[in-house]
């Protein structure tokens, strides 16, 4: 394969990954930042960074985890700039009400809002586990934490959701 063909193939493979994974990346970024505009900016920037270091991705089967990690880092950068703007959860709920809405299922909308109101430290591992399907060890690797800490956060995330939804809370110890 000559150099031009190699570049074309690289672009095609990257484009294909972006097309298939972008919805998940956007969803993940939205749940991290709870702001659609921020999510789109973060994903756009993350994909640019991913393109620049695409050659470092040895196994394209692991592209999703690789891209999610880049989104996490990019979000951390962007969030620092917007921290003050995102401090009012009620305002965020109102601003993102269109995404939170589930007109066909009131119960779903309630759960969505309860998750939306969780602290980021609980929301993020929950999204990675339940929506993205990662194991607690994989989540620990992505978040740079011990697996035990991830398990604790996941336990507390569900306990807080139960609390928010008026269900009996579980004893932690």
């Amino acid at each position: 394969m000559n150099r031009a063909d190699g570049e074309t193939d690289r672009r095609r493979r990257f484009g294909s990954l972006c097309e298939s994974l972008r919805p998940d990346l956007l969803r993940f970024a939205w749940w991290l930042g709870r702001d659609r505009g921020l999510a789109e900016d973060v994903v756009q920037e993350a994909l640019l960074r991913a393109w620049k270091s695409f050659d470092s991705l040895a196994d394209e089967g692991k592209a999703k985890a690789w891209l999610l990690t880049i989104v996490r880092r990019e979000f951390a950068r962007s969030f620092e700039k917007k921290r003050l703007e995102l401090s009012d959860v009620d305002a965020l709920v109102a601003a993102e009400s269109a995404v939170l809405a589930a007109p066909e299922d009131e119960r779903l909308a309630q759960m969505r809002e309860a998750i939306f109101r969780l602290d980021e430290e609980y929301r993020e591992p929950l999204v990675l586990q339940v929506l993205m399907g990662y194991s607690t060890q994989e989540i620990a690797d992505m978040m740079g934490m011990q697996q035990g800490a991830v398990l604790t956060r996941l336990f507390r995330a569900r306990a807080r959701l139960r609390q928010q939804l008026g269900l009996a809370a579980e004893p932690e110890s």
């Binding site: 969803r27 089967g61 269109a98 779903l108 909308a109 996941l154 959701l161 939804l165 579980e170």
Partner: protein
């Protein structure tokens, strides 16, 4: 021996956790088993709640603030009755439908009789990978693997050979059930198991212990591939 507290801490973090200690405690403690079932049901709702649809910026108009307040106040009223009540909505209506759909699909899938030669691991992986899954060695040889249209979605369809005969496995990432749904329709016995993402249907004809086989298949599936 797993205590109730250990069990609840474990399943509180991983509602689909299995293993000898968890299973043994489930058998001994009905309250804890019920608690895990509730958490699994709640996870099905969480999964659907997280799966938001993000339209391009500027497309959607925000809801009135009053609707937001009313909606949130309804949380307690809606779910305080317990996840069991939610299960009725989640499971009862689709229960019969899912059984019929699974059987109809199995009946009309040409070439899925399980009589072919075992497929290579790569061929099976090619079918499961787009669904983010992998099949371990514990399930048995796979003699059919295809991506089929089911309920308007493309889903992995496998036929696994077991000592009791071939069983069909449909990976239904888009359909949730909160507890195992067993059915017996038109000569097919089946069970739909809750999975970390959606559910898995296992169907066979004249298979004596389908539950055990379904569990074996379920445990062989890696949902985090």
């Amino acid at each position: 021996m797993t205590t109730c507290l250990e069990f609840r801490r474990h399943v509180g973090a991983e509602p689909f956790a299995g293993g000898a200690g968890i299973e043994a405690h489930r058998r001994e403690c009905a309250a804890c088993a019920r608690h895990q079932d509730e958490l699994r049901a709640m996870d099905a709702v969480i999964r659907r709640a997280l799966d938001v649809r993000l339209a391009p910026r500027g497309d959607a108009a925000p809801l009135p603030a009053r609707a937001q307040r009313t909606r949130f106040l309804a949380i307690a009223a809606s779910l305080v009755a317990g996840v069991a009540a939610a299960l009725v909505v989640l499971v009862a209506a689709p229960r019969a439908a899912i059984a019929r759909e699974v059987v109809a699909h199995v009946q009309h899938e040409p070439g899925a009789t399980g009589s072919g030669a075992p497929l290579s691991a790569a061929a099976v992986e090619a079918v499961l990978r787009p669904a983010g899954m992998r099949l371990g060695t514990g399930a048995g040889a796979v003699s059919f693997a295809a991506r089929c249209v089911f309920d308007g979605r493309v889903v992995p369809h496998l036929v696994v050979r077991t000592p009791e005969g071939p069983v069909t496995v449909l990976v239904l990432s888009h359909r949730t059930v909160s507890r195992p749904v067993r059915f017996d329709e038109q000569g097919y016995a089946g069970v739909v198991l809750p999975a970390p993402r959606g559910s898995i249907a296992v169907v066979g004809q004249g298979v004596p212990d389908l539950d055990a086989i379904a569990r074996q298949v379920f445990e062989a599936v890696d949902f985090g591939a």
